[in-house]
Amino acid sequence: MNNSALIHITDLVKTFPMGKREFTALKDINLSFSAGEFSGIVGPSGSGKTTLLNIIGTLDVPTKGDARVIGRSVSDLNSKDAADLRNKHLGFIFQTYNLLQVYTVFENVELPLLLLKIPSEKRREMVLQSLEWVGLTDKIKSRPAQLSGGECQRVSIARAMVKSPQIVLADEPTANLDAKNSHTILQTMENLNRELNTTFIFATHDEKVIQYLRRKISLEDGQVVRDETIKG
């Protein structure tokens, strides 16, 4: 066991009931992720990428085995503890951005900080810093409907990064973006990874994302078939 790992997965199995039978989504997964990784879980649809991301994100629990995230076993967390862990240490980036339409860019990014009960002045400072990372300080008063897809995803990244989480989980973050916007987004995330030493874990089958990864974990039928370091 790698003691410095942020995430440590041991003999993980995840099954789902399918009528009278069981469907095994993940089997015998053994993985570790360290601080500052820029990794991707890649594979075709149905290979188990999102299920693995769910477990790492404390949104689901393993059927067998163990997944420890920032020193806490996911299986041992109750709903409230899991929410606290997500709130303090994890950031999420979604394929469809999931920005709240009635709020401004500033307010969307501010939301995670409100849950952390950070004082107003400090909050403002952190939101502006986060928007500066993604180059959107000129759009703080805009609503999501007034932004392009690429800008929306940058807001989503700013929202995930604003509380400086140790881990950011991104599920197909470029699926709704064109090539140019995808590269902009990925470069932004890569820069943040290098500057802030934040661990990024992607679930993707998009080649544009894969070419940015420094570690590629290939899943097939719920099993890790390759775990390779692509570049230094």
Binding site: T50, S79, A83, N87, F94, T96, L100, V102, E107, P112
Partner: protein
Amino acid sequence: MIKFLLNGLLRDRQRSFFPILIVAIGVWITVFFHAYIQGVFGDLIDSTARFSTGHVKVMSRAYSENADQKPNDLALMDVKKITADLRQQYPDMTWVKRIQFGGLLDIPDEKGETRSQGPVFGMGVDLLSSDSREIEILNIEKSVVNGRMPQTPGEILISDQLAQKLGVSLGESATLLTSTMYGSMTMHNFTVVGTVRFGMTVMDRGAIIADISDVQYALDMDDACGEILGFFENRIYDDEKAAVIVNRFNTDYLEVEDEFAPVMGKLIELSNLSDYLKMGENFSGILIIIFVLIMSIVLWNVGLLGGLRRYGEVGLRLAIGEHKGHVYRSMIYESVLVGVAGSIIGTALGLGSAYWLQVYGFDISGLMKNINMMFPAVLRAEITQETYYVGFVPGLMSTVLGTALSGIGIYKRQTAQLFKELET
């Protein structure tokens, strides 16, 4: 966080404007109907008290058993003494003597032959005493539409409708044909000095109002009358207070074995209104319960639709680490705000429309031509203290209950599905 949620609430019309509109309309209807029911039942009690039963009424035992027929042959005797005793025992109350009778009113021509004739319902009340309260109780002076109040014995008022039907003019003679207390036929001449309209179909169809002394003389009822009515000083019926007075009075005469001995009854027993009054009291409660149920179902659906629309938002909030309980509570707080805002607006609208109905009323005399109840021809609402807050109960309960029901989905939601859900 509160400011954040409040901003979202104010900006999202489907979370604020439409639910507030629905609640406001529901509360408006509740407040208006509450005031309307209060008004209708209040008018009914008031009219019955003023024209028929008083708040309490003394009759002879025999008279009370056939009170519907106004049997003056069974009237109370020695009423000066009874009235004096009542005034002494209950000085805070107003006690008035009345004789109700039926008969024919004959209008003669210049030769003394019958020109027109019709059945009448008569009331002998104290019109001429300087300390009489009857003019005020029956609101007679304001009900005079033509002519003037009787000022000397032998002068009467008749209903305006009857005057037109009989073709009688002011100052003309009218002969009352009826029977005396002892059963013999009697005729008595009066002078019509005014016509009245009470706004009550029974009275307006064919009533004559004469001074009680004239009626006592005509009906041979010296020191006798059919009924002695008692009114509370504030003119508001109090059933508990009335019951105490009735019990005390009747206990005094319990040992007397005389069918002409006085007996007292209270308004709701004498008028058979008790069931109506209980119904009136319950009706508001039933209305509120029905409203809460209907509005809860409506708001539950609004909440469900809103919940579906906000599925992404709630999912995101759960995903980034907000506790389910916090999300649920924030939705309940929102619903309280919506409920309060809707209730204030609805109450204001309800009070406004109830005030209009209280002041101007709704004339239903056209629908009551053949009605024999002491029922006002103009329906009015009555705004009471309760009217100001009655709408808040259903307004708040329905929004909170609706949101609580629709929000249960938050607890049932599997966080494991959030990524998948948020990808679609």
